[in-house]
């Protein structure tokens, strides 16, 4: 239990201590620092007993909150503002863990497998859209970053899109021993144990 807390604290400390070099490039700012902060929030989710009530059935409320949080911090002007204004920087360090990482973890944990599949597909396609946007925008989208760095961020999004797609397809091509033995035994997959779903759904 306390290991998670230590990890979360460590991640936030790293993101804060090295924010100078990390924020010098949009690639590390957006694709390293923001995910690190969100991950810190996800790690502390079990401590807070947050989102266990009926209001979060299926994880919808939390997933939606995380979605809005991600949309907000994907705005180029939000990123610009964190570099120009210390209050925005502090807001980022609070919002990413508590309004993105935490609700995403809590919401995903209770989400129906189909919802999860939609989220994964949506993630891959949004990463690809961001990759296209940042490699093809005719103007600088952040006043604080050079056009060549903006292009690198686009390539980073593209790499991440491929990585996410590969990571989520891999289990279908290379099933683990557990999944294989499950199939041999005639079980369609893991049943009824995922999320809030009471139905029996083959876990794809």
């Amino acid at each position: 239990m306390s290991a998670r807390l230590a990890w979360a604290t460590g991640l936030i400390a790293v993101a804060a201590l090295f924010r100078g070099p990390i924020e010098a490039s949009p690639l590390t700012h957006v694709l390293m620092q923001l995910p690190i902060l969100a991950l810190a929030g996800a790690l502390i989710a079990p401590y807070l007993r947050f989102g266990q009530g009926d209001w979060n059935r299926g994880g919808w409320a939390c997933l939606l909150a995380a979605g809005f949080g991600i949309a907000f911090w994907m705005l180029p002007r939000s990123i610009d503002a964190t570099l120009a204004d210390m209050r925005w920087e502090i807001a980022k360090f609070l919002a990413l863990p508590f309004l993105v990482g935490l609700p995403l973890a809590v919401g995903y944990a209770r989400a129906h497998p189909l919802t999860r599949a939609v989220i994964k597909a949506q993630t891959v396609s949004m990463l690809a859209v961001m990759a296209f946007l940042y490699t093809h925008a005719p103007m600088r989208l952040c006043n604080a970053y050079l056009a060549e760095d903006q292009y690198r961020l686009g390539i980073g999004f593209l790499a991440l899109a491929f990585a996410a797609a590969a990571a989520w397809i891999a289990p279908l091509l290379f099933p683990t021993r557990q999944q294989v033995s499950g199939r041999r035994a005639g079980i369609g997959g893991i049943r009824g144990t995922v999320g809030d779903s009471k139905e029996e759904i083959p876990c794809v």
Partner: protein, 200 residues
């Protein structure tokens, strides 16, 4: 029922925040937000003392009956500013031939006052055809630079080749010292319209 209510509340709150953060989904970037704010809020820009290419000291924006077009430069800028200088020359010619002749002042303002002395400003001015009267080159005092750039919403970053990159634009300042429009360097038609409105 409760999950639905909670989700709807999240959607409402989230949409409101995004609406607020993007000026009603009109501005996703700092630059578009800056240009929109100039049109809708017409913020007053404080007057800063500047030294011109002819050695005059004046306040920018001056409080007289003329509108002012401010562009930001640094004189040893290799590429972009040369194109920007050419656009300023075209704007001057366009204005001189139109109904606003004699009512607009053009200022190329250096954000590198440490390196841009009198000699550099004069050379830059002569190179682009700035006469020092209708169109002049000027530099602020180094101590005013951060507040000046902030007032106009300009961000200057090093380009890793010894020069700078900034969000270049034509800033239109009305005779009463308000930022009334910000336009792309090549939007001369838009600049003339904005100047017409600022002078009305």
């Amino acid at each position: 029922m409760r999950p639905l209510v909670a989700s709807l509340a999240v959607v409402l709150a989230g949409s409101a925040v995004l609406w607020q953060a993007t000026d009603g989904f009109a501005a996703l970037t700092t630059e578009s937000a800056r240009r929109l704010a100039a049109l809708t809020e017409t913020p007053a820009v404080p007057a800063f003392p500047v030294e011109t290419m002819t050695g005059d000291h004046l306040l920018l924006p001056p409080r007289d009956r003329k509108a002012t077009v401010v562009e930001f430069i640094y004189t040893n800028c290799p590429t972009i500013c040369q194109a920007a200088g050419a656009e300023m020359a075209r704007l001057r010619d366009r204005l001189a031939a139109g109904p606003l002749a004699g009512r607009v002042r053009l200022v190329s303002l250096s954000f590198d006052p440490a390196r841009d002395g009198q000699a550099q400003m004069t050379e830059y001015g002569h190179w682009h055809g700035a006469d020092g009267k209708v169109w002049t080159v000027a530099r602020p005092e180094a101590k005013d630079l951060p507040a000046l750039l902030n007032a106009y919403g300009v961000t200057v970053i090093p380009d890793r080749a010894g020069g700078f990159v900034h969000n270049a634009a034509l800033q239109i300042v009305s005779p009463d010292g308000r930022l009334t429009a910000i336009l792309g360097m090549d939007d001369l038609y838009g600049a003339e319209n904005a100047l017409g409105r600022a002078l009305r």
